[in-house]
C-alpha cells in the first residue's frame, strides 16, 4: 500500500484547501516582490489578527529562519485561495495594505489583489481573516488535534529560545500556504536532494522494518563504523602518507578551525602534517572572498558540502557528506565557536589576535581539543538536542520536581548564580535568579564537558571549573562546582567519593552543578552541595532521580501502545525543550541512529529552510515513512516503518502529541524555580 500521490487527494479533502493547487507558481512569482520591510508591520499586526483564527483547528505557522537572522520575510502569497466575496467585508483594513500594494503590483502574479488571499475558512464553518503576512493557518480537520493554538504569548516565548534557532526566528511568521494541499510536491522538493532512494520511492516497497535494506542510499554511510577511528599520524619515514590520506578522506565529517592568518587551530581528524596543506588552501579561498567583501558561505564539491563560518579572526569550516543543511552545519560550527569562547572569553580572544594577528591559538586552547572533538562527534553521531537547539529533561512527577527545586532553593547560598541537577545530560532541576535565564547553548556546552568529554568525571572527586558561558556573558568567567553521583550505587549513600572511574556510562551520572561568579566560593558551594545531597537523600528525591535515570527513556510503544511509530522528537518551542523516546531497540546501533538522525535532519531542513513554508510534511521512502509537523507551540518529527499508512502515521502522531500534552509538566521543566 502506497500513499503518496493518490492519497494526497483524499487528504486534501480533509483540509478544504483543494483550490490551492495553483499556488506554487504564484508564490514563486511573488516572493521576490514582497520586501522585508513589510514584515515588520506584519509582526506588529499579527497578534491582533491572529485571534481570528479558530485556534482549535488551525495550525498557525512559524518558521524559524535559522540560518538567516537578517531577513524578515513576508510572503503573503496566498493567491491560490479563491476569494470569498462574502467575507471581503470582514477583512480588517490594516495599515499594511497600502505598502503591500506596490510590491504586489510590481511583480506578475496570479493574485487579483492582496485581499482575496487572506480569507480562510475552517472546516467547522468558522472563518478567519488574515490581512497580514504574519499569520496563516492550516486547517487540520478530523484529526482531533488541538495543538496549534496561536496566541501572542506563545509566540513571544518561542522567541527567547536558543541561539541557533529560535532567537533568530522572531521575524519568521512566514505564511506557508503551500504546505496545505500539495503534499506531493512537498515530498519532491523536501527530501530528494540527498538520497536517490527518495526518487525511487515506489508503492511496491514491501520491506517492513526501518532501514532494513542496504541499498545505495546507504553508500553515504558505508564507512560510518570507522568514522570515529583515529587517523594515524603521517610518518614521513614510514611512507604511509597515501594510506593515511585515504583514511582521512574517507571520513564523512570534518571540522577545521583556523585563524584568518592561516594558522591551524583545530582539526577533528588528522594530525598537523596532514592538514596543514589543506588549511593553507582553505585560508586562501576564504580570504579571497573576504577581500572581495563577499564572504564565502559554503560550496559543494561532489557529494560533499563545505560550510564556512567566520567569527572575527577565526575561520570555521565544516565538511560533510552526511547531507545536513547549511544552516544545520553552521549551527554546529557556531557551537564550536562557543566552545572556544567558553574557554577563552571574547575579550581574551580578541586581545590575542589584536596584539598578534598570527597568534597560534592552539596553545591557549591546550587541553580543550577533547571538548571540541566530543562536541564534533556529538554532531556527527547525530544529536537531537543540537538539531533542535533544545534541552531534554528527566521525566519525573511535577510534585517531585517541585520538591527538588525547593530543596535547592532552600540550600541556596549567597554566592550562587545557577544551581542545576542533571542526570545523564538530562535536566532534572534548575534554580536561577529572576533576571537571568539559562541559555540552552550554554547548557549544551556544559553537558558536553561533563557527560560527553569525560574530562571532568574521569578525575573523580569534586571539580571547580572556570568557564565562560557565552550565552550568559561572553566577556567573563563563571565558576562551576561539579560533583557526580552514580545512579547505580544505590547502596552507597551520599557517594562523597566517586568510586573508581570505570564502569558507569554517562547516562547514569547524576551531577550537581553550582555556578557562581565568585572564584573563591568553592567551599561555600561545596557546603551547599552537601546540604542539597543530604536533603535530597532524606526526602527521597535522590531515590526518585536514580530510579528515573535507571529506568531510562520510555519506548515509543510505552507511550502509545500499539503505535506504528518507531521514534519521534517533540520540541516544545516555548520551553526550548524536547522529548524523545528511547533509541532502543530500533536505533541503538550507531549506524541506525545516524540514519534516524539524518532523516530528522532532512525533515528539519525541509521545514526550516529559508523560504520553506512547509508546516506539515509527510515523507515516504523505501525504508521509512516519516512526518513532521510544526506549529507555534511545538515541532514534531516522527518516523515509522515503510508500510505504515499515512493514517497510521497521523494517528500515532496525534496520540503522541496528546500524550505529551497530558504529561507536559513531567516531561518538561515549565517555568523553573527562580529566586
Amino acid at each position: 500500500m502506497r500513499h503518496s500521490s493518490d492519497q494526497r487527494k483524499s487528504h486534501s479533502h480533509d483540509r478544504l484547501y483543494a483550490p490551492i493547487d495553483t499556488a506554487p507558481t504564484a508564490t514563486a512569482a511573488k516572493e521576490d516582490g514582497i520586501t522585508a520591510t513589510m514584515t515588520y508591520d506584519g509582526e506588529n499586526e499579527a497578534p491582533k489578527h491572529r485571534t481570528h483564527a479558530d485556534s482549535d483547528e488551525s495550525m498557525a505557522t512559524i518558521t524559524p529562519q535559522e540560518d538567516d537572522g537578517t531577513t524578515l520575510e513576508g510572503h503573503e502569497q496566498r493567491p491560490a485561495l479563491p476569494p470569498r466575496p462574502s467575507l471581503l467585508g470582514d477583512r480588517p483594513t490594516t495599515p499594511l495594505s497600502p505598502r503591500k500594494r506596490p510590491a504586489l503590483q510590481s511583480k506578475p502574479t496570479t493574485a487579483v489583489s492582496s485581499v482575496d488571499i487572506q480569507t480562510l475558512s475552517f472546516p467547522d464553518g468558522s472563518r478567519g481573516t488574515f490581512p497580514t503576512p504574519g499569520s496563516r493557518s492550516v486547517s487540520e480537520a478530523g484529526h482531533g488535534i488541538s495543538g496549534g493554538t496561536s496566541t501572542p504569548s506563545s509566540r513571544k516565548v518561542s522567541q527567547n529560545g536558543s541561539e541557533f534557532d529560535d532567537s533568530t526566528s522572531l521575524m519568521s511568521y512566514t505564511p506557508t500556504l503551500r504546505a496545505n494541499g500539495d503534499l506531493a510536491s512537498l515530498l519532491d522538493e523536501g527530501l530528494n536532494s540527498q538520497s536517490p532512494a527518495w526518487k525511487l520511492l515506489s508503492s511496491q516497497a514491501d520491506n517492513v522494518n526501518l532501514f532494513e535494506t542496504i541499498d545505495y542510499e546507504d553508500n553515504a554511510l558505508l564507512n560510518f563504523d570507522q568514522e570515529f577511528d583515529e587517523v594515524e599520524a603521517v610518518d614521513s619515514k614510514g611512507g604511509n602518507e597515501e594510506q593515511v590520506l585515504l583514511l582521512w578522506k574517507a571520513k564523512l565529517k570534518h571540522y577545521l578551525i583556523l585563524s584568518s592568518a592561516g594558522k591551524p587551530i583545530y582539526s577533528r581528524h588528522g594530525d598537523q602534517n596532514l592538514i596543514n596543506g589543506y588549511i593553507g588552501i582553505i585560508q586562501t579561498i576564504i580570504s579571497f572572498f573576504q577581500d572581495a567583501k563577499d564572504p564565502l558561505m559554503g560550496f559543494t564539491a561532489g557529494g560533499t558540502r563545505f560550510v564556512v563560518l567566520i567569527e572575527g579572526p577565526l575561520y570555521f569550516v565544516a565538511i560533510s557528506k552526511l547531507g545536513e543543511s547549511d544552516s544545520q552545519l553552521r549551527a554546529q560550527l557556531e557551537a564550536l565557536y562557543m566552545q572556544i569562547l567558553s574557554t577563552l572569553t571574547l575579550p581574551t580572544l580578541t586581545q590575542l589576535f589584536t596584539n598578534r594577528p598570527n597568534t597560534d591559538l592552539r596553545r591557549p586552547l591546550e587541553g580543550t581539543e577533547t571538548l571540541l572533538s566530543s562536541l564534533a562527534d556529538t554532531f556527527t553521531k547525530g544529536s537531537p538536542s543540537a538539531l533542535l537547539s533544545a534541552l531534554e529533561c528527566l521525566k519525573i512527577r511535577k510534585s517531585q520536581r517541585h520538591t527538588i527545586n525547593n530543596t535547592l532553593l532552600k540550600a541556596r547560598t549567597e554566592k550562587l548564580l545557577y544551581g542545576l541537577v542533571v542526570a545523564g545530560g538530562r535536566l532534572v532541576s534548575v534554580i536561577r535568579p529572576k533576571r537571568h535565564s539559562l541559555h540552552p547553548s550554554d547548557l549544551s556546552l556544559i553537558f558536553n564537558m561533563l557527560f560527553e568529554a569525560g574530562s571532568v568525571k574521569a578525575g573523580g572527586g569534586e571539580n571547580w571549573i572556570p568557564v565562560c558561558l557565552p550565552g550568559f556573558n561572553k566577556t567573563g568567567y563563571l565558576y562551576m562546582y561539579v560533583s557526580f553521583i552514580n545512579a547505580h550505587d544505590g547502596e552507597e549513600s551520599s557517594s562523597d567519593q566517586r568510586p573508581s572511574t570505570a564502569g558507569s556510562s554517562p547516562e547514569d551520572e547524576i551531577a550537581i552543578l553550582l555556578i557562581s561568579t565568585d572564584k573563591e566560593s568553592f567551599y561555600e558551594l561545596k557546603q551547599m552541595r552537601d546540604d542539597v545531597v543530604a536533603q535530597l537523600e532524606s526526602n527521597g528525591s535522590m531515590g526518585i532521580i536514580k530510579a528515573a535515570v535507571r529506568q531510562g527513556r520510555p519506548s515509543t510503544a510505552d507511550i502509545v501502545p500499539g503505535t506504528q511509530l518507531r521514534h519521534f522528537l517533540y520540541k516544545s518551542r516555548a520551553n526550548v525543550q524536547f522529548m524523545m523516546p528511547s533509541l532502543s531497540p530500533d536505533f541503538s546501533s550507531p549506524l541506525a541512529r545516524r540514519k534516524l538522525m539524518s532523516l530528522y535532519h532532512n525533515l528539519h531542513a525541509s521545514t526550516h529552510a529559508k523560504h520553506s513554508h512547509v508546516k506539515v510534511l509527510h515523507c515516504v521512502a523505501r525504508d521509512s515513512n516519516s512526518l513532521v509537523w510544526t506549529t507555534p507551540l511545538f515541532e514534531f518529527y516522527c518516523i515509522a516503518g515503510p508500510n505504515t499508512s499515512r493514517a497510521g502515521l497521523t494517528h500515532g502522531a496525534n496520540k503522541v502529541i496528546q500524550w505529551v500534552k497530558r504529561e507536559e509538566e513531567r516531561v518538561f521543566i515549565i517555568g523553573g524555580a527562580v529566586f
Binding site: 577533547t370 578525575g459 572556570p466
Partner: protein
C-alpha cells in the same frame, strides 16, 4: 598495636599539585586516592578536589588535595589553591626537560608566595618510561638510578632528566624528592606518606575529636569531607534507604 584500636589524632592537611600540563598530576592523585590508572587521561579542566587519608603510626593525616590543571591559562588561578596550603607536590615529567624548568618556576613561586612553612615535594613522574623501572622495583633507589640516567636513550630509555640533576636541585631548595610512576604505582604512596611525616606537628590544625575519624577506616570508604561537613556527612549516609 595499641594505636591500631585507639583513636588516633586526626588532622587535615591541604595539599596542592602543580606542574606543567600532561606530566601526570591527576594520575598521581588517582593512583593515591583510588589506586587506579587510566591511559590517555583527558586533561583536567580547572581543578579537582579530592580527599584521602594517610595513616601514620601516631596520627591520621587527611589530605585535602587540589589537583590543578597544568595549562598556561589556568596559571592565574593557582594562588587560590596554594594559599593556605600546608604542602605542595610539584610534578615534572622525567622524559621532558622543559617540565622540570616549569617545576622550578612553581617552586620559586611557592617559596615566594605560599605560606612560609609549606612542605614541598618535587616529583619526577613517568618512571615507567625509563628502563630502570622495568627491572625489579628499585623503588627508592635514586642512587642506583643515577648511573643509568647518565646514559639515557640506550635501550629505549625515554628519560631526559637525570635523577642527579633533579635531586641536587631538590636538596638545594630543601624539597622532598621522589621519582614515581603513577602507571605502575611506584613510589606514589611513599610521596604522600613522606609529606605527611614532614608536616610539622605544630602546623597541624587542632586534632579532631576522636569520633571524627577512626583509624580503622581504610582508604576505600569514608574518605572525604570530614572537616567541612562532618555532621551532615553521617546524616546523608543514612538517608539512602529511599
Amino acid at each position: 598495636m595499641a594505636e591500631a584500636t585507639a583513636p588516633k589524632p586526626s588532622s587535615s592537611v591541604k595539599l596542592v599539585l602543580l606542574g606543567e600540563a600532561a606530566v601526570g598530576k591527576s594520575s598521581l592523585v588517582l593512583r593515591f586516592v583510588n589506586n587506579d590508572f587510566q591511559e590517555n587521561k583527558e586533561p583536567t579542566i580547572g581543578a579537582a578536589f579530592l580527599t584521602q587519608k594517610c595513616n601514620l603510626p601516631t596520627r591520621t593525616i587527611k589530605f585535602e588535595i587540589w589537583d590543578t590543571a597544568g595549562q598556561e591559562r589556568f596559571a592565574s588561578l593557582a594562588p587560590m589553591y596554594y594559599r593556605n596550603a600546608q604542602s605542595a607536590l610539584v610534578v615534572y615529567d622525567l622524559t621532558k626537560p622543559t617540565s622540570l624548568i616549569k617545576a622550578k618556576h612553581w617552586v620559586a613561586e611557592l617559596q615566594r608566595q605560599a605560606s612560609p612553612g609549606i612542605v614541598i615535594a618535587l616529583v619526577g613522574n613517568k618512571l615507567d618510561l625509563t628502563n630502570e623501572s622495568s627491572g625489579s622495583g628499585n623503588a627508592l633507589g635514586e642512587d642506583s638510578e643515577t648511573d643509568a640516567a647518565e646514559g639515557e636513550n640506550d635501550d629505549g630509555d625515554a628519560r631526559k632528566v637525570s635523577t642527579a640533576e633533579a635531586k641536587t636541585y631538590a636538596e638545594e631548595e630543601g624539597l622532598l624528592f621522589f621519582e614515581t610512576s603513577a602507571k605502575n604505582g611506584t613510589n606514589v604512596t611513599e610521596v604522600f606518606t613522606a609529606i605527611a611525616n614532614a608536616i610539622p606537628e605544630t602546623s597541624l590544625k587542632g586534632a579532631r575529636g576522636p569520633g571524627a575519624t577512626q583509624s580503622s577506616a581504610n582508604r576505600t570508604e569514608d574518605q572525604s569531607r570530614v572537616n567541612l561537613t562532618g555532621p551532615r556527612d553521617s546524616a546523608s549516609k543514612e538517608g539512602c534507604a529511599c
